[in-house]
Symmetry: C2
Subunit: 328 residues, 2 copies
Amino acid sequence: MKNINIAVDAMGGDNAPYEIVKGAIDAVNEFGLSVTLVGKEEIINEELKKYNFDKSKVSVVNATEIISTEESPTIAIRRKKDSSIVVGLNLVKNGEASAFVSAGSTGAVLTGGTFIVGRIKGIERPALGTCLPTTDGFTFLLDSGANVDCKSSYLLQFAKMAAVYVEYVMGIKKPKIGLVNIGAEKEKGNTLTKETYELLEQSELNFVGNIEPRDIPFKAADVVVCDGFEGNTILKFAEGLSSALIGIIKEEITSGFYKLPAAFLVRPFKKIKKTFDSEEVGGAPFLGLKALVVKAHGSSKAKGIKNAIKQCKIFVENDIVLKIEEQL
Amino acid sequence: MKNINIAVDAMGGDNAPYEIVKGAIDAVNEFGLSVTLVGKEEIINEELKKYNFDKSKVSVVNATEIISTEESPTIAIRRKKDSSIVVGLNLVKNGEASAFVSAGSTGAVLTGGTFIVGRIKGIERPALGTCLPTTDGFTFLLDSGANVDCKSSYLLQFAKMAAVYVEYVMGIKKPKIGLVNIGAEKEKGNTLTKETYELLEQSELNFVGNIEPRDIPFKAADVVVCDGFEGNTILKFAEGLSSALIGIIKEEITSGFYKLPAAFLVRPFKKIKKTFDSEEVGGAPFLGLKALVVKAHGSSKAKGIKNAIKQCKIFVENDIVLKIEEQL
């Protein structure tokens, strides 16, 4: 098997550089691949001193600038040529790395990915996938925020890309594909979902019909497809609502009638945390580019980064780009 | 003060006729208004025997048909002229009742409301409002499902109608109006939200900007405006996710490490139930019509129906239709 080298943005995310470098080294030690850490050389080298690893498998590429989450992605990508995101994406473009992982600015990663790495020929819009936790494992949500105004032809492509990704990276054969819609019947929904329904029905995908938002948390399908505005709403509303609900329950159990010590809640909430742990699945793959670009959560720790790198390895080993091309 | 008469669909909803008739009688006894119960006369009269009430305040209008939730709303409204929904809406149209409450088919209530009661002159699209529970009282969500494809001019009108409703029916002066969007900044979102942002900013409403879905459960605004596809997604996803989360917590606390008796959970979940109790607020008002039409939840019990009728009373007493007209 060919040696796989993954470029990692050492400067992106809330816990950079410490957790990023740690996660990258863990990935090297566990999976035997190579990583190229991109960012301020001195800082990265300082971090690397903390670990034991096969020196031939870790390289550092200097990048003096950092793109913050507050900057306009388009302007930042154009101007900050020496940022860790632009330099890392160029490593992929030039074939020096097979994939790129960043926990930095989502906008910059998406914009940079599209402009620097480039789209697969025939793909109208690359899309961001997210593994949404459910009561029974994960549902792969695509698009979760890259494309706010969509046509039905984009959504058909999202479904095809998601099917390949979930089959090969997550190991689910002939995954069930659902269309997020506000009614179960074919004729329900808006213009976009009605048109998309027709396309999905005619496709060779394992299309299981419309999925109502209330059924998503119970894993109504392996893949749920929607436009990025809708997908991002689901993602962010899930964050807010779970945090609100857990807050109420905690409050009631610890300060309400029972006044149980907060420690009592550690186990139940650990279970929830485990169920809903985004670190387990790595990051959000930006599908439709000529190579994999993964956006790890801004709050990623070493485990999240390690798993994002593992995701890249599986993606590369399974020639997902080629398989997506074949689907078009 | 003029006598207010509310038409009530005695046949609609999972708990008809028992809970509906009970709720209507409770409303008569508590609020001193009149109700007209619409539906199968014999059945309703049988139910009425169970209660004591001022006979001059309760009338029954016979309607022999029932529209089920499975039927196409447009066809059902056209064909079932003697259904409780059509007959009830006609009472409003003819001035025999000031408002109509139904826990029956949402589609039929909306379609029938629009065609029979009719839109306020100048209103492009009537919209369905829902009181969404938050950690700090309710947020009024409009549109929560009536209009799946929207223009920015509709959303501006939704905001204006919601502002009137929340100010007079819910008693919040100069309510804060937010636009549901996937980013906080003005330039974020899709074409619809960008255009709507401009309109809201130029309006005289108390517009507080974009509200990200993650902030909705923490009551980021008194009113959140969006298209009906987005609104319905939020509503239904909230139902599904809370039920999934509560299921996990219950499971873990009762069968997991602690094996506490299920009774232990009664109190904490009562608190949640109370926080998220839609029965407290009555139903979803369908705003923009010449009179109020309220869609009560399909699972409404007497309390929900009673509160929906109370809502109608406040709406009528405050001349909300007139106030909405003034806003245009």
